[in-house]
């Protein structure tokens, strides 16, 4: 059996092996993969997200360990050191000699470290592998510190900004130094660069452009970076991100031709100057050109796999578009972003107020799109990128007009050949084909079938739109155990008066349930008033927060949030909270919701803490529940010289009325005493703003991930009308929304939108208002404090122990250190995943 040796196991090598195995299921090639890194290929493109979890498993590429495939021999931690072309062998660092019939070099790149004096001091790092990040973390975290730690990133390109983001997420203050006059010089133009700089600076990253780094010097345990413009930066660590260089050492050593600027020279079919050797990915110089992104590498892998399995192929014109979200700032460039084609025209709109910059590059007749740059808002990136080389659906100026006024570019406008997923080169035609011919009716099925959406994920929203455009109704099933939507389950439970999960799943579902349907059903049972949320079987349905009536923290401890209605609290009660926090050693913080959060309680401490709080007159704040959180208030007419109504009084009344109401997602509210809106009511699920004559009610607002302003539902109403309208609004939402759908997306998806909502709850167009009113009365009448319920019931109390066989012993794995005179959790290192 002939042997294929692959040197390197990065993303591109993995794609090659996958493609060869797919084309050659009978296994006519024996495949040996030599991987320098100690783990199988992982998603390097997403490397920065490693900082969120420090869990390498989150970067895993599916199937990259080839478990169960006897044809592939993956040797981890095995560097290829030399190639002997005459004997067709590769020698590894451990001394193994492996014969090949075909050899593929997929060795990627190495970070380029400019030879500035001091570049090799302790505390200088590069940014390419999981191990690099672990090292940076160790240096950032372990250093005994004074104040906030800082770092400098040398290089303000795509990678440099990613590194800055990672450092910021680790809690350091980053500086970025870029030699060019703007950030991301390769991707964005001057206008985009200026805006990008402003947006990035706002995010606590200090940007130095147009200057070199002359030296790094050690200064005690710190480093001094001396810049060409005279600035000296006193930092804890330095990350070099000044570009990459192809790893062409094997080619150099064995005498293969190299590209003019390095890289293993190949022809358009990725063959090197030795016909038995191919080069793919970042180490290859295809017809002399090296590519530093993954999509062209994937294309090379497919071409070589085709040749190895009896087909043919040449490298297509690559798509070098990029889109990234850096610290929440969208940056995208596509096609001929710098208008280098002959006669290309640029149309740009720089909106300083909105913080967006958009440029389209078009042909001289303005009709065909050639490329573009988007900064600050790249919502249209996928559609525009897919239109490159094609007629524009509207005037360029109209497409660039600010949201609302612009001519929307929908998926319908795209021709079949338009590329939807640039990472995997999947066209719109291929996707619609998979929908119609292969019966892919969900996004996950489309991903599995076409590979679209499996790399950077930025095209996933378009997959959903294509499904809808093809008339495929996307399943509303709650999960594999219930074919019904949440709203349907709600109706079933209400109509049948079923009171247990077991009965519901037995009659209307299948299997034994899961972490998706159990909490959803628990919430429905609770809304319809079925006793204490931990009563009987209900306890086993609750997510950990609801099961312990507290919020789980990263180290397995919980936080405690007593309700402080409207944010109003007496000095005596404040003192009780202080005493409880002190006596139990809890980290204490004022939340964004006008109340106080006490962190670091173990399971065993929760009832003891709540005993004290309940005795002092506190109740559960439901910070853990999909339920009403807070009704924020401003100080209102009682004190404020502008206030026109008593906003605090109303906020307290509303918070007490709706406390404990279980809903599809959390509910937030606020009341402002006048139009100045100090309580930020329009960012809430229901927000109230006082008027001279009464109240204005706004609904469907959201902060969080996708902010949305609440819209005016009714105006100038009296308090009784206001409360009746909110009662109905909440009950209608609770019955008809999907699980984990907040009011904002619910209203957006509601057929007929706000007008329909108004018709239902104000004009009673469906004749259900009486029912909704009665349901809310029942909720208000049945409310009882959940924590009091636990303290009164020995059976429920007994569940609050860390160990069933050692009650009273707290989890020994939990430990704390001190920061700013309070305790904070110590995580026991990077979670090491067992294999």
């Amino acid at each position: 059996m002939p042997t294929l040796v692959v040197a390197g196991h990065g993303m591109v090598a993995h794609r090659l092996v996958e493609a060869v195995r797919a084309e050659d299921p009978s296994g006519s090639w024996h495949i040996v993969v030599l991987s320098e890194e100690p783990r199988p290929a992982y998603d390097r493109v997403a490397l920065t997200s490693y900082v969120d979890t420090w869990d390498p498993a989150t970067l895993a590429l599916p199937g990259s360990d080839y478990a169960g495939d006897s044809v592939v021999d993956l040797r981890l931690g095995e560097l290829a050191v030399s190639v002997d072309r005459s004997s067709k062998t590769v020698t590894t660092a451990s001394g193994d000699v492996v014969s090949y019939d075909a050899l593929v070099l997929a060795t990627g790149s190495r970070p380029f470290v400019p030879p500035v004096p001091g570049h090799d001091l302790d505390g200088c790092f590069v940014y390419r592998t999981i191990e690099d990040l672990d090292r940076i973390r160790a240096a950032a975290v372990d250093k005994p510190g004074r104040g906030r730690r800082s770092a400098v990133v040398i290089g303000g390109g795509l990678l440099g900004l990613e590194a800055a983001k990672a450092l910021r997420d680790m809690g350091l203050s980053p500086h970025v130094v870029e030699m060019a006059p703007r950030l991301m010089p390769l991707q964005v133009d001057e206008g985009g660069g200026a805006l990008l700089r402003r947006l990035i600076t706002n995010l606590d990253v200090t940007v130095h452009t147009g200057t070199s780094t002359d030296a790094i010097e050690a200064d005690g345990s710190r480093l001094l970076a001396k810049l060409g413009n005279g600035t000296e930066l006193d930092v804890d660590l330095v990350v070099f991100s000044a570009g990459v260089r192809p790893r062409d050492d094997l080619a150099r050593q064995s005498g293969l031709d190299l590209g003019p600027r390095g890289g293993v020279l190949t022809d358009a079919s990725c063959r090197t100057s030795d016909p038995a050797i191919y080069a793919i990915g970042e180490c290859a110089a295809v017809e002399g050109r090296v590519y530093g992104i993954v999509a062209p590498g994937y294309a090379m892998a497919e071409i070589v796999a085709a040749q190895l399995t009896g087909g043919a192929g040449t490298f297509p014109e690559p798509d070098t578009s990029t889109k990234l979200k850096l610290m929440g700032v969208d940056v995208a460039s596509f096609g001929d972003a710098h208008a280098q084609s002959e006669g290309a025209l640029e149309v740009a709109v720089n909106d300083a107020v909105a913080g967006t910059y958009k440029k389209l590059v078009v042909t001289d007749d303005g009709k065909t799109l050639l490329g573009g740059v988007l900064v600050g808002d790249a919502t249209e990136y996928n559609t525009l990128r897919a239109l490159v080389g094609r007629p524009l659906p509207a005037e360029p100026g109209a497409i660039l007009a600010p949201a609302g006024g612009g001519a929307a570019v929908g998926v319908d406008a795209l021709p079949d050949a338009a590329q939807i997923c640039s990472c995997n080169a999947v066209s719109k035609g291929a996707i619609t084909n998979a929908i119609h011919e292969d019966g892919c009716d969900t996004v996950p099925k489309l991903k599995a079938c076409t590979r679209a959406g499996t790399a950077c994920g930025s095209c996933v929203p378009l997959l959903g739109k294509l499904l809808s455009a093809a008339g495929v109704e996307q399943s509303k099933a709650v999960c594999e155990h219930f074919p019904q939507s949440r709203a349907e389950l709600f109706e079933i439970v209400q109509a049948t008066r079923i009171t247990t999960f077991s009965e519901l799943i037995g009659r209307y579902g299948s299997g034994s349930g899961c972490a998706i349907c159990k909490p959803a059903v628990a919430s429905i049972l609770a809304t319809l008033g079925n006793g204490h949320v931990l009563g009987g079987e209900q306890m086993t349905l609750q997510d950990t927060n609801d099961r312990y009536l507290a919020n789980l923290q990263r180290n397995g401890t919980y936080s405690v949030v007593p309700r402080i209605p409207g944010g109003e609290i007496t000095p005596d009660k404040l003192i009780v909270i202080g005493e409880v926090a002190r006596d139990f050693g809890l980290y204490t913080k004022i939340t964004g919701g006008q109340r106080i959060d006490l962190f670091g309680a173990t399971v065993d401490q929760l009832p003891l803490i709540w005993r004290r709080l309940v005795d002092a007159g506190f109740e559960s704040g439901h910070a853990y529940g999909k339920a009403l959180r807070t009704v924020k208030s401003c100080v209102g007419s009682t004190w404020c010289r502008y206030g026109v109504q008593d906003s605090v009084g109303l906020a307290i009344e509303l918070e007490l009325r709706y406390r404990g109401l279980r809903s599809p997602h959390k509910l937030k509210s606020a009341v402002s005493g006048c139009a100045r809106e100090c309580a930020e009511a329009r960012s809430k699920d229901f927000g109230i703003i006082a008027t001279e004559n009464g109240w204005n009610l706004y609904v469907g607002g959201n902060g969080g991930t996708t902010p949305r302003h609440a819209e005016l539902l009714v105006s100038d109403v009296d308090t009784a009308t206001l409360i009746r309208t909110i009662d109905r609004f909440l009950m209608f939402y609770v019955r008809t929304a999907d699980r984990l759908q907040r009011t904002a997306p619910w209203i957006e998806e509601l057929e007929g939108g706000l007008d329909h909502l108004r018709a239902v709850i104000v004009d009673d167009s469906l004749g259900i208002c009486e029912d909704l009113d009665a349901a809310m009365v029942k909720h208000v009448d049945n409310y009882a404090d959940e924590w009091k319920g636990v303290l009164e019931d020995p059976e429920k109390l007994a569940r609050f122990t860390s160990f069933v066989n050692a009650p009273g012993t707290p989890d020994p794995a939990i430990s704390f250190r001190s920061e700013r005179q309070q305790k904070v959790p110590v995580m026991l290192g990077v979670p090491e995943v067992r294999r």
């Binding site: 498993a57 895993a60 034994s512 909490p519 086993t540």
Partner: protein, 114 residues
């Protein structure tokens, strides 16, 4: 020569202390934490309580259910599911947690000592 493997068992709690469709944690010698789960029909399972995906010892507090009929517990932290029978993680390739033998003797749950 034959070697016989000697199992030693640690008594944990009365069977009734483990609620059906849920789990409890137990502390063994040497600080080892075990999560014990119970399904209907007096089926007991024991896994390490330590969640490799989050680094917290919390698996006993997860929601128990099934995935395509395979009994699983979902970590309460980031919701990865672990098969109760094998300890294998369904949501992260190559990740698994140790499983322990568990039995009920005269109404008492016992776990094999590690």
């Amino acid at each position: 020569m034959t070697t016989s493997i000697q199992r030693t068992w640690t008594a944990i709690c009365p069977a009734g202390a483990v609620p059906e469709h849920a789990g409890v944690a137990a502390l063994l010698d040497g600080g080892v934490q075990v999560a014990i789960f119970r399904l209907p029909g007096d089926r007991f399972f024991a896994l390490s309580n330590w969640d490799p995906c989050s680094g917290a010892a919390v698996l006993s507090r997860g929601i128990v259910g099934d995935a395509d009929g395979v009994p699983v517990v979902a970590s309460p932290v980031y919701k990865e599911r672990f098969a109760l029978e094998t300890g294998r993680c369904l949501d992260a390739p190559d990740v698994s947690v140790p499983v322990y033998e568990v039995r009920v003797r005269e109404g008492v749950v016992e776990v094999e000592s590690p």
